[in-house]
């Protein structure tokens, strides 16, 4: 992997300058997504000292280490239970989990669905680049059918997860999908997520030219970006069941948007010992349709 020197940028105080350059490949989609998160940190109005970022293992798991906030780079798959505990012990903190698709949905999948079910007050930002990039491009739980990976040399024959569908079905109160091309919308979605109490989920489709682009003849990062630009349609009201990604069919759109925004009681282990709240919305999967 070669490294890129980050440009000078107004958000520089947000980064640990002494840690740069970062480890990501040229054209990697993680960096832009990190910048969107960093801008949201500033615009959130919440002091930086009250933000915490937790990750697991993988290229995306390196994000917290570059941010100049309290950050924890934990074990593979376990960012969510670790972050849950931070959020419960210090409820005044704004805790995000920033990690990758393999980390959060293969080895860590069980923790995600239970955190969503409980509605833990966490913002989960998941870089989805359809493969295990750090280890050189293996197949993962989001690799589209037919796509090649080093451990799927004949093409992936497993049905992938549709992450927004999974997140909504398991109880997330805010569910969105953007790409590392849609940085303004991504930042807005992160800001909305920070305002919400409960588990929010944002999937960020991101190019991994090394691990995914090259073996799948998508070309370099620019070309993968072009593919997103051409195929992506924004539809906040799209049916959740229709959010799957199929890169083989050129006319199959990649649907982006803020799909779910609901209210549910936030996870509180002491809830049953507190006075009952005045209003509670118990409709777990109710969706607020967002008209265009």
């Amino acid at each position: 992997m070669t490294t890129l020197m980050a440009e000078r940028h107004p958000s520089d105080p947000l980064f640990r300058a002494d840690r740069l350059p970062h480890i990501w490949c040229p054209g990697c989609g993680i960096g832009p997504a990190m910048h969107a998160y960093a801008q949201a940190l500033v615009e959130s109005g919440i002091p930086l000292d009250r933000h915490v970022c937790v990750s697991g293992i993988g290229c995306s798991g390196r994000v917290p280490g570059y941010l100049n906030i309290d950050s924890y780079h934990t074990t593979h798959g376990r960012a969510i239970p670790f972050a849950m505990a931070v959020a419960l012990v210090r409820p005044q903190l704004e805790v995000a989990v920033f990690s990758g698709d393999g980390d959060l949905f293969a080895i860590g999948g069980n923790h995600f669905i239970h955190a969503a079910r409980r509605n833990v007050d966490l913002n989960v930002i998941c870089i989805n680049n359809f493969n295990y990039g750090m280890t050189g491009g293996q197949v993962g739980p989001t690799t589209p059918m037919g796509a090649r990976a080093t451990t799927a040399p004949y093409g992936n024959y497993e049905q992938p997860f549709s992450l927004p569908y999974l997140a909504a079905a398991t109880g997330a109160v805010f569910v969105a999908r953007w790409t590392s091309l849609h940085l303004r919308q991504l930042k807005q979605a992160i800001l909305r997520a920070m305002k919400k109490r409960g588990l929010t989920f944002i999937e960020v489709l991101a190019p991994c030219p090394v691990g995914f682009g090259r073996p799948n003849e998508i070309g370099d990062a620019m070309e993968e970006m072009m593919l997103y630009r051409e195929r992506c349609v924004v539809d906040h009201g799209a049916p959740l069941a229709a959010l799957d990604i199929d890169l083989r069919q050129r006319d199959h759109p990649i649907v982006l948007g803020n799909f779910v925004d609901i209210e549910r009681p936030v996870f509180d282990p002491l809830a049953m010992r507190r006075p009952a709240p005045e209003v509670e919305d118990h409709a777990p999967l109710a969706r607020k349709e967002q008209e265009g």
Partner: protein
């Protein structure tokens, strides 16, 4: 909302597992994440009831991987945190035991041992996780493990486990066994001000300045610990890291870090080690036993004495660090060493590292407590040598 005392001062007739739970509360534990597993479930049940009474947090997790990750997370946020489990869950926890060792995050794990390997004997006793406690996670690191022999010790040693964890910023185990966890006996809980408390070392400079490096150790090799949300903008990673906490993936940094993680415990082993001796002054045969087996050994030694055999008992209270120096000095003057345990010879092997000669093991794989008789038989045999 708070309506129960954190320290249940007074005399109680308590189950060993419940005594662990009360010890945790008395030590200031305010976060428990766990997964039910026999024979440790009573700890979780007691804390599910008691933690909310003192404003603490109890979470029943989806598995032991998550439980262990959660207590490490709670601890970096400043809470004294614990989980409790038995063999199968202990195996799953090993992943994040390593994380706690690497990130230097204090936490306490109670393992109420049962018959193993695998699912083994869910409801029946064994002591076969002794080496797993020492070496269970990958890599070199040091932990501390206490082996209670009574409900009173379940209380006392759980308190001590929290203090030792905070003092050295390490994971600490309470390595109980099913017999001790499931026996009910008198437990005396002292008043709150008589509960020993060692505070975690904290940064000495205000946040924002340049002075504080989160992983720069003091002379005792332990760095002060900054918690999440305090403004120190820390970075913790399971990767090899430097004093700033930043990844430093090279041979030199790795050796420096791992050496310190190991040394910070080894250097203080003499302060951490605990054991109980009885009738060793003139002993010709020494029995080395721990946990519930030590109770059988005590009986065997008493009967041997009645028979005129000069037997004595050394009961390690810390299995790790193992009181090896004490064993070495004893072995120099006694005739024989007998090591009864409910496994195939795990501590016996450790003892032999210090005796430099074979010991007489009294072994059973578990499923029932080791009774005094086979220990007594072996003491008699040893006495004739």
């Amino acid at each position: 909302m708070k309506d129960g005392p954190a320290v249940l001062e007074g005399q109680h007739f308590l189950l060993g597992d419940h005594a662990c739970a009360e010890g945790a509360l008395a030590a200031g534990c305010r976060f428990f994440a766990g997964y039910p597993i026999t024979p440790s479930t009573e700890i979780a049940e007691r804390l599910a009831h008691r933690l909310p009474e003192v404003g603490g947090i109890f979470v029943q997790m989806e598995d032991e991987l998550a439980s262990m990750a959660a207590i490490v997370g709670a601890s970096v946020a400043g809470a004294r945190a614990m989980t409790a489990t038995s063999g199968p869950g202990f195996s799953l926890m090993m992943e994040n035991v390593g994380l706690a060792a690497m990130m230097e995050v204090p936490c306490v794990v109670v393992n109420v041992q049962r018959g193993a390997p695998s699912t083994g004997l869910p409801t029946l006793v064994a002591q076969a996780d002794v080496m797993q406690a020492r070496w269970g996670s990958h890599g070199d690191y040091e932990i501390v493990a206490y082996a209670p022999a009574s409900p009173q010790e379940c209380f006392d040693l759980t308190v001590r486990a929290f203090n030792t964890a905070d003092q050295y910023r390490i994971p600490v185990f309470v390595l109980a066994d099913e017999v001790v966890g499931h026996m009910t006996e008198r437990v005396v809980i002292p008043p709150p001000d008589a509960i020993p408390k060692v505070e975690r070392k904290r940064p000495r400079t205000a946040p924002g300045g340049d002075g504080f490096l989160p992983f720069q150790a003091d002379d005792d090799l332990v760095p002060p610990m900054a918690h999440a949300g305090e403004g120190y903008r820390v970075h913790f990673t399971g990767l090899t890291h430097d004093e700033r906490g930043y990844p430093a993936t090279n041979a030199e940094a790795h050796d420096r870090l791992v050496r310190r993680l190991v040394e910070k415990v080894r250097r203080h082993a003499w302060r951490i080690e605990e054991y109980e001796e009885s009738q060793l002054e003139d002993a010709r045969v020494v029995v080395i036993a721990y946990g519930s087996t030590a109770r059988s050994a005590r009986r065997a030694v008493a009967v041997a004495r009645e028979e005129g055999i000069r037997a004595g008992l050394l009961r390690p209270i810390t299995l790790w660090p193992f009181p090896g120096e004490r064993v070495r000095r004893l072995a120099e003057r006694v005739g024989a060493v007998v090591v009864p345990e409910l496994n195939m010879g795990q501590i016996a092997r450790e003892v032999e590292r210090f005796t430099h000669r074979p010991v007489l093991g009294v072994n059973h794989a578990g499923g029932a407590m080791l009774p005094p008789e086979p220990i007594l038989d072996t003491i008699r045999e040893a006495a004739t040598r």
